[in-house]
Symmetry: C2
């Protein structure tokens, strides 16, 4: 059991993704008329091969060889034991993590960006559009498009575009075209600028711009890519958990607790879904998605039908939502600043198969600094949220005197988020929590929408 790291050879890399739609019941997405939408209705937005994956209920889906060829650059990712953190916490718990920061853009996002670019290319698409907030997803898709020789256009939320010039440079290095949103290039962008020429922009507007740019492209060879929330994105991320299972099996371990931070849900789903399958099959395991207290989708918001974007371009999705017009307080973890939660993750929470947690910004950054100094790697701000929960569980294991095995997903490194660390070390970060009044207000937007059914998968 005394290992620092478990690696897999290229031959041991998973050859199939795990599709949780084979094992749980889901409410369907709804169109503007309140009726379930057909897959074909999404054809102007996504290539048909990805839409098929989005609605597939096959349990195992083959990973195409050209996708594996790109993933091999940094996968299989190592499973590392956090011995330094264990020691600092003097805990009997054994803490393991999957390290996703070794990908070229530094996060787990390329796990889906690469297959998305591949399937678009296969379908004859020449250009992909997307939005990005903090920049992780836009970087990942720029990287992936470069690997398959297709164009990439990224609408980046204005406030981040201005504050983080290096993210734009990063996308440009891969040949991506990154512009500030709202822009003058789309109707949605022009409308937003007309309303407020100095608007900082929002993820909602940027999504609207990216979708519009894809569907209005006259060549018909442009499609949109989304970095989280959708079923096929969760599917692609399961390679993380599938690798982790193989690695833990090699050293005879099985986790008692699985932890991942949750914004749109893809990083959590990546490590958790293969274990959710075990749980559905009767295995005892606790699974915790961890979100910021300032954006408490799963822990405080209801399970409803709501739009994925502010401009209401997307279908109604069955999910925990703070309301599609919700703007989170200015905490520093861009990847967790989303009003909704992946329908699959929402469904699992609704059924009690997973147990959502929330942590404060200061607890997150304190756990991040402790981990940086004891484990050596500077975590992404999103990872810090998972770490706060890991630290809490390790302390509880100590109190209880139990040798628990904790597995968490280290979603990425924080080398492009050092400004937030600097503020934290200078004592300039604070906690935000939402009041009940704030939530009642933000949730008014979905009051008139249909309600999802309560379904039980087991």
């Amino acid at each position: 059991m005394d290992v620092k790291k478990v690696i897999l050879t290229d031959d041991e890399m998973p050859r199939q993704w795990y599709n949780i739609l084979a094992d749980i019941k889901m409410n369907p997405p709804l169109g503007p008329d309140g009726k379930p939408i057909s897959p074909e209705a999404l054809a102007p937005v996504f290539p048909m091969n990805l839409i098929e994956q989005e609605v597939s209920t096959e349990r195992w889906i083959d990973i195409p060889e050209p996708v594996l060829d790109v993933l091999r650059l940094w996968r299989p990712a190592p499973l590392i034991r956090a011995t330094g953190l264990e020691k600092a916490l003097d805990t009997p718990a054994r803490i393991y993590y999957k390290y996703e920061g070794a990908s070229p853009p530094g996060s787990h996002k390329p796990n889906t960006a690469v297959p998305q670019a591949y399937y678009n290319k296969e379908f004859g698409i020449k250009k992909m559009t997307t939005e990005t907030g903090a920049g992780q997803w836009g970087s990942a898709l720029s990287f992936a498009c470069a690997q398959f020789g297709i164009e990439c256009k990224v609408f980046m939320v204005r406030v981040s575009f201005d504050q983080k010039p290096y993210r734009k440079a990063m996308m440009q290095a891969w040949g991506g075209n990154c512009i500030a949103s709202p822009s003058m290039e789309t109707r949605a962008g022009r409308a937003a600028l007309e309303k407020d020429p100095n608007t900082p922009g929002s993820l909602g507007i940027a999504i609207s711009e990216a979708v519009e740019a894809a569907v209005t492209d006259e060549t018909g060879q442009t499609r949109y890519g989304l970095g989280s929330v959708l079923n096929h994105v969760m599917l692609h991320q399961t390679i993380i958990g599938l690798e982790a299972k193989k690695q833990l099996e090699k050293i005879g371990e099985y986790p008692d607790i699985i932890i991942g931070c949750a914004g749109g849900g893809s990083n959590f789903a990546g490590i958790a879904f293969p274990y959710v399958l075990d749980k559905i099959n009767g295995k005892q395991v606790e699974i915790y998605p961890v979100e910021p207290a300032a954006c408490p989708t799963l822990t405080k918001a209801p399970f409803v039908y709501d739009h994925g974007d502010t401009a209401k371009y997307t279908p109604l999705l069955p999910m925990h939502s703070l309301g599609h017009a919700f703007v989170p307080p200015p905490f520093h973890a861009g990847g967790l600043r989303y009003h909704g939660m992946a329908p699959t993750v929402s469904q699992l929470a609704d059924e009690g198969l997973i147990t959502p947690k929330s942590v404060t910004q200061l607890d997150a950054y304190n756990a991040g600094i402790l981990t940086t100094r004891t484990e050596g790697i500077i975590p992404a701000p999103e990872t810090n949220h998972a770490l706060a929960q890991v630290v809490a569980e390790a302390k509880q294991a100590k109190e209880e005197g139990k040798e628990k095995v904790i597995l968490f997903n280290w979603s990425g490194h924080g080398l492009l988020d050092l400004g937030a660390y600097e503020k934290h070390l200078a004592g300039e970060l604070k906690n935000y929590e939402l009041s009940d009044e704030d939530m009642i207000e933000s949730e008014k937007v979905f009051a008139d929408f249909p309600k999802p059914q309560s379904l039980k998968s087991r």
Copy 2:
């Protein structure tokens, strides 16, 4: 031969470093009196266990277990075949690289920072001081000191300190204390500020401050650490080349050409020295250190005795030098902005065992962008210099129709150097070359020093 990546297990990690001092003859370092200095004379600067390593002529030196435990976080580093770059260049050459960017600070520097921190800790040292230019070395030593629970103080050249606040934040995240140099904390710093209160600082002054801060510490428990140039630094980096040899052997390859960028020499030495041993033993292999045309230590400057720092605190070292007061033109590759070259690397060049090359800034960045788009990883600016030579060799292999095997050292990622990429993509970078007049002027400083002997190791 059709592999993308060769990995080694933890068990296959080298357990010994290769010490080239066993196989080549060297001119000794000289004291202020022009006579060889005794190891003991260095005791106020370095701990005795590292000084012993500095002068050892044992061929193989054991890597301590606690050092291996930390290195295991990211080592063994993968050997990757640059298939995308090969394809883009349509070359018959097979190009392999060791990727050193997966270390927590993102470069090869921790390979020596970790053992340096370990040996200092073992010797009872409580605090290390050092200097840093662009920030790679200061980050690496901060990281390493955190792993062994010792303090770290970094004097960072003022101009970089102001231009790169994130580097400071990075060191702080690991608990390092980073201040701008020149500072008011040392005599050398105060003198520099008195001369010019608005000085941008220089690596030379920062070295002087760090050495002074170590030797004047009244507790006697502070020592200085250097990130390149010295024999023990080269020794620690040989783990790169030793891993590469094992990896290439696994797939039945032996390199025709080995390439590494060279500033102080440690990144080049890391990949090259184990192969220099083969060459000394009769093996046919071309070995190219690549330096910037704007700082052409090996390719243009003479092999002389000179100081390692501007303030002349260090012993006289036998090396290729542009003069200890030389300030390079403002090209963007901080790790290559050094007036001298490691004595071991200088000796090998003097004997013709290695063949120095130089490349321009624009060739370097163009190769970096090509590689980013075809291989996926954004290289450090220093790595770009190696890449320019790799591209040239791959093109020549195509012209000659030869299936050459090229191995190079990918010294780190460029995620903290995206500003330079942005400038390059905007067409704002240019080439610098030194005129003969510039060199004649800068080399006056060592005119009166003793001259090294011409030695032949084989």
